[in-house]
């Protein structure tokens, strides 16, 4: 039931400039222009820093998600994983406070705990998916529920708060930076750049795409498919840890509502950026653009009273669907 492919006229534009590459960037530019026209504060230093710092958490996670999705996987658990890690980190630091005292070392121990927890959680997802051969959707749906419930339980249904003194010590990690750029933005930028390099310039990135396209071919080509898959989940887990490290000092607390829907925002950013949901092709810079698009929509709606901010979700939804329609265009052409 195949349809005859209609002729692509030889007068077609050169293939380097195509809508799939430029689409997300154009959308971003349009949003910036719209925002600037609608509100003079939009391009102010304060607003720009605010938008970027808030997108950093989702952004760092979405970079990891790009690898998972490119390799043909999916991770629904990242939001609850972030909440769980945040809770764990707070508990560890509060617990160690009497013995270690307030200061930089205890914060470093907390950070280390977050990274280790992220690594372990990512490994668990990856292990269940690759070694036990359970669908990624099922596994991460399961762990999503588990982590969410664990953090609720740890907080006894309420909120876990970081000790007030510790909060003061930790605060600068979110609120300060260098040269007027706050730490979350710097870390996000570093993660994104590293991610882009890994995706395009290393064997690991190439393997992810090959596995996502056709894991049989990868296996026949001597690629250790299981190991690469697990590594994508571990990488994502560690990045969730990094995001949590940046997030905790912002509010100094964690509860059952921490990180709700982060997984969907991260996945949406990846898709808007042009990575294929079914795997086989991914680009990290696209994900970064996707994250920015999503945060700008929210920001613009908040700054203007043209459209109600309550419609934020609807507009984001439309953009996601548009992005997928564009992707399909590319597939039919190839």
């Amino acid at each position: 039931m195949s349809t005859a492919e209609t002729t692509s006229a030889p007068t077609q534009a050169p293939r380097k400039i195509n809508i799939q590459v430029l689409g997300p960037i154009i959308a971003l530019v349009v949003l910036v222009i719209v925002g600037a026209l609608m509100n003079s504060n939009f391009l102010s230093y304060a607003n720009v820093t605010n938008v970027l710092a808030r997108s950093a958490f989702i952004g760092i996670i979405a970079v990891g998600m790009t690898f998972v999705i490119t390799a043909g996987g999916l991770d629904l658990s990242v939001g609850s994983m972030a909440a769980f890690i945040a809770g764990l980190m707070i508990l560890v630091m509060n617990y160690l406070l009497p013995s270690m005292g307030n200061g930089v070392p205890i914060i470093l121990v907390g950070m280390l705990a977050a990274l280790v927890a992220g690594l372990a959680a990512g490994f668990l997802n990856g292990f269940l998916i690759t070694n036990m051969r359970i669908e990624a959707f099922i596994v991460t749906l399961g762990t999503m529920g588990i982590y969410r419930s664990l953090v609720t339980w740890l907080a006894d249904g309420g909120t876990l708060s970081l000790d007030f003194g510790l909060r003061q010590t930790y605060r600068p990690v979110y609120y300060e930076g260098i040269l007027g750029i706050s730490w979350p933005i710097i870390i996000f930028a570093l993660v994104a750049i590293a991610g882009e390099i890994v995706m395009r310039k290393t064997a690991f990135g190439r393997y992810c795409a090959a596995i996502g396209s056709n894991d049989q071919v990868a296996r026949y080509s001597s690629v250790d498919v299981g190991r690469v898959r697990i590594l994508t989940y571990i990488l994502l887990g560690v990045l969730v840890g990094v995001a949590t490290i940046m997030y905790v000092p912002r509010l100094g607390s964690a509860s059952s509502s921490t990180g709700v829907l982060w997984e969907l925002e991260a996945i949406a950013a990846v898709i808007i950026g042009g990575t294929m949901l079914k795997g086989g092709f991914g680009r990290v810079w696209g994900t970064v653009v996707g994250v920015l698009i999503l945060s700008l929509i929210g920001n613009i709606l908040n700054l203007t009273d043209f459209v109600s901010p309550y419609l934020n979700g609807a507009i984001q939804g439309v953009i996601i669907i548009l992005a997928v329609i564009l992707q399909r265009g590319r597939k039919a052409e190839g």
Partner: protein, 504 residues
């Protein structure tokens, strides 16, 4: 209507992909009750022409007529409705469905509201029987072998009362015996007045079953005449545009006496039992046997793609191989017979496919794109890969050129022992010669080669020694003067080999 009216005809067909034109004014007439062969080098445009006939592609210019009436197919369904059925070079089966579900896909039999599974099962069994194919109708297509997939494709096409049947390299994966079964069906259809068109790179079979031959070169029809006026050699010349000398080069190099690979009692559950053989350094060993004899599965077991038992020694050292990675780290590499679903990542570029198997060599730690491009240059030159555009996706190469890329990819891994399963599947005769030379060259350099091929002449021409398998066991071995088609067939069919000695 008289037989002077073509059942299907093309006139002045042009076709371009993006800026690249691949067909130029192609004209072909298919007559009822005639078997028409379309031949040409890899990338000449045969598959593209056929897809236009079958409604899978539309022409940029030109007319397609059915029974003398110009038509414009918007989809393959419209072509099928007119009785034009096509079997693709790269299979068009739903891998996750069963054999019988595929045979009836889109044409399910119904009893009232429900599917009539019983009738479909019976008809599938009957069809497969007619093709002498023993595949289980309930087996998932992804689990059956490549030749069986081809048979399922043929069964599927036979079901659709075709007026015009188009087959793109139907015999590429079949042994002579299975091809004969197909030709019986072709004869039957011809006598029923069906117009048939097929392509093949096996020119002897073109000579044998076709009534008319059309030759394409670089997107043009260069010749079309009754088969009786041509010989296999003159066809090859018309295709390639030059004279072809001996297809199989003479072996000159000495085979060393060192044992490179020793396999004892290799058992791959369900496919092979107690297979033992030795392979010397610089030797070319052929592996023959009918489809379903377990040739491919044995070798897949050997390189760790399937679970297996038995002992394997490489260069005298016992090794445990549980994955293709293990095997490759010992210099043992396997080239799959199934290029589409196991060989190439179709939606990746040529460069990415070429280096996938040897990527660690290009990562220092960042991928050296320049070195990769150089490797691609070399592969294009060594294997004569004809790609209209270097940056195209592997899936857009013509079938034979995909195969060349696959061979290049395996060779880039610099194996010391290489197992090549149907190395020249779908490759034109000119390039075949180049690949044979390449294999001999490898052997002369001390690489040990195992060749699996359903083309008897290929195994006989290439190999120093041939092991014949039957029902998962080694049935015997032939070498030297006994390397005849007859001896191999006798062993493969279990008729007992009169003068052949059997291996331990």
């Amino acid at each position: 209507m008289t037989s002077a009216t073509a059942a299907l005809s093309l006139e002045g067909i042009d076709r371009s992909f993006g800026p690249v034109q691949v067909l130029f004014g192609v004209a072909i007439d298919l007559f009822p009750g005639e078997v028409h062969a379309l031949i040409g080098e890899n990338g000449a445009g045969k598959s593209t022409t056929m897809k236009i006939m079958g409604g899978y592609l539309s022409p940029s210019h030109g007319t397609v007529s059915v029974g003398g009436e110009p038509v414009r197919f918007r989809s393959s369904d419209e072509a099928e409705a007119q009785g034009i059925v096509m079997i693709h070079q790269e299979f068009n089966l739903a891998e996750d469905l069963t054999v019988e579900e595929n045979v009836f896909l889109g044409h399910e039999l119904r009893k009232g509201l429900f599917l009539d599974k019983k009738a479909m099962r019976e008809e599938t069994v009957a069809l497969l029987d007619r093709l002498d194919c023993r595949v289980d109708p309930k087996a998932r297509v992804r689990d059956i072998s490549t030749p069986d997939k081809q048979m399922v494709e043929i069964a599927k096409a036979l079901r659709r009362d075709a007026r015009v049947l188009i087959m793109d390299e139907p015999t590429a994966v079949l042994t002579n015996r299975e091809a004969e079964v197909l030709f019986e069906q072709v004869d039957r259809l011809r006598s029923q007045g069906v117009a048939l068109l097929f392509t093949s790179h096996k020119l002897d079979e073109v000579k044998r079953i076709s009534d008319r031959v059309t030759v394409m070169r670089d997107g043009h029809v260069v010749e079309s005449r009754p088969t009786s006026e041509l010989t296999a050699d003159s066809m090859a010349e018309a295709m390639v545009g030059r004279e072809l000398s001996n297809l199989f080069p003479k072996r000159s190099a000495e085979i060393s006496s060192d044992i490179a690979l020793k396999v004892s009692n290799l058992t791959v559950p369900g496919h092979a039992t107690d297979v033992s053989f030795e392979l010397r350094r610089g030797e070319v060993l052929g592996l023959s046997g009918l489809i379903g004899s377990g040739r491919t599965e044995t070798m897949e077991g050997l390189v760790g793609l399937r679970s297996h038992e038995g002992t394997v020694e490489i260069d005298g050292e016992a090794v445990k191989i549980t994955s293709p990675r293990d095997a490759q780290s010992r210099g043992l590499v396997y080239l799959t017979e199934d290029r589409k679903s196991r060989g190439l990542v179709l939606n990746m570029g040529l460069r990415e496919n070429l280096t996938l198997q040897s990527l660690p060599r290009f990562a220092k730690p960042f991928l050296d794109q320049k070195a990769e491009e150089e490797a691609l240059d070399k592969a294009i030159k060594d294997f004569d890969i004809r790609a209209p555009d270097r940056s195209m996706k592997a899936g857009n190469l013509s079938g034979g050129n995909q195969q060349k890329l696959l061979v290049a990819k395996i060779m880039l891994a610099e194996p010391r022992i290489v197992i090549i399963d149907e190395p020249t599947r779908g490759i034109d005769i000119g390039t075949k010669q180049q690949i044979y030379e390449f294999i001999h060259h490898l052997a002369a350099e001390g690489v040990s080669v195992i060749v699996i091929s359903s083309e008897m002449t290929e195994v006989i021409g290439l190999a120093d020694r041939i092991i014949v398998m039957r029902q998962g066991r080694v049935a015997g071995e032939v070498s030297g003067a006994e390397k005849t088609e007859d001896a191999i067939v006798r062993l493969a069919m279990g008729l007992g080999a009169r003068e052949t000695e059997t291996t331990a």
